[in-house]
Amino acid sequence: MSIALSLGNNLTTGGIFKPTAVNNTSVNNVTDFAGIAGGATLVLLSTQTASASASISFTTGIDNTYDEYIFKWINCHPASNDSFQFNCSTDGGSNYNVTKTTTFFAAYHYENDSSTFLGYNINADKDLLNDYQTINSGVGGDDADNSCVGYLHLFAPSSTTYVKHFIARGQHISQTPYTYENYVAGYFDTTSAINAIDFKFATSNIDDGIIKMYGVVKS
């Protein structure tokens, strides 16, 4: 009876629960507010951690759910001095060899202040080639505190109408040592849907580091 009275006090005359009827404990068993978007515009889809890995691939989750995907790599450390690269796949990751045309320019600055540079690197761009695209050129691997970071935007990978554009910016420490900033952009020259992506160093393992994949909500 006491409970009934308390319950009654928590109801409006229309039989609707008042705020006092529900508190944080009341929803402890609710594990999914499916109708609440949560205001997320950048959704973390996957995180992978390297540990002497030959490569890190994302073979699920790249579809038409999102019109833009963002990949971030944080403190990827090569087993030896090497360039960090990526490629895409249209067959779920069986082959990473999509034809691409790209641009690559960079800025660097030596720790001893002996040299600075801003310019286009014709050795790192692609003209209708299907091999891996460099996004950090010449990452130091011999020193334990050397690493590379960066982000890559991949636009509408599931489109079957348009080529697939990407924009990337990478920052790393090179062996000499100097700071090196990489600007890479271009398009995968295919109207097939891209559904997988692979990151690796050109010849050596990824000793350490993480790579995250985000989806950017459409609306």
Binding site: H77, E111, V149
Partner: protein, 220 residues
């Protein structure tokens, strides 16, 4: 009470499950948290917003730790009291000292409003080679005399709590430079330390920051 009970009963199915009309938005006014994962969270978590008002500097001395692998700072309409550049530095002692050794690059695209000059150039007097000085985020002095002139942009700081790696950052700002010029500035580099970075400070090369906001986000 009887009327309420009958009305309430109408909000329950014969299986005893609440119908949608048992709750309205006000019913959950006192719910301020739900179990982790119950609501899809955003990839960016706003940790702090600071608004400048004649401040010598703006510092973030808490919240920078191993919780996030990446922190992003967004500058919105920073307006200086006098012609000056926006700079930043970091701290490994919670903000007691801002002067971590850094090597950086700086280049910018600059376009004069009267179309007299349009360039893309590396700017050697804005980079650093193993220096503990504050790091430039803008190329030429911001124009203070124009009340509508400001700088906006962002700064990514990667894994500041790492005790293994140097700490990389990348920034991009756009501002109205004295002239006036439009300048799009790119600065990047690393703090050459394996100590954890736990505070960040922003200031101008001279004078106060009259207005503007700086937000700090953690990236999940």
């Amino acid at each position: 009470m009887g009327t309420i009970t009958r009305t309430f009963a109408n909000n329950i199915t014969t299986s005893g499950v609440f119908k949608p009309n048992a709750f309205n938005n006000a019913s959950f006014d006192n719910v301020t948290a739900v179990p982790s994962g119950a609501i899809e969270s955003g990839g960016m978590v706003l940790l702090s917003t600071q608004t400048a008002s004649g401040d010598a500097s703006i510092s973030f001395t808490s919240g920078i730790d191993s919780t996030y692998k990446e922190y992003m700072f967004i500058f919105n309409n920073i307006h200086p009291a006098s012609n000056s550049n926006l700079q930043f530095q970091t701290s490994t002692d919670g903000g007691s000292n801002y002067g971590v050794t850094a090597t950086t690059t700086f280049f910018y695209a600059s376009h004069q409003e009267n179309d007299g000059e349009a360039i893309l150039a590396y700017k050697t007097n804005r980079d650093q080679a193993q220096s503990t000085d504050f790091i430039y985020l803008t190329g030429d002095n911001m124009e203070a005399s124009a009340s509508d002139a400001s700088v906006s942009g962002y700064l990514h700081l990667f894994e500041p709590s790492s005790t293994t790696f140097v700490k990389h950052y990348m920034s991009n700002t756009d501002h109205v430079a004295d002239g006036p010029y439009q300048q799009n500035n790119y600065s990047a580099g690393y703090f050459n330390t394996t100590s954890a970075i736990n505070a960040v400070q922003f200031k101008t090369t001279s004078g106060n920051i009259d207005a503007g906001t700086i937000q700090m986000f953690g990236i999940l």
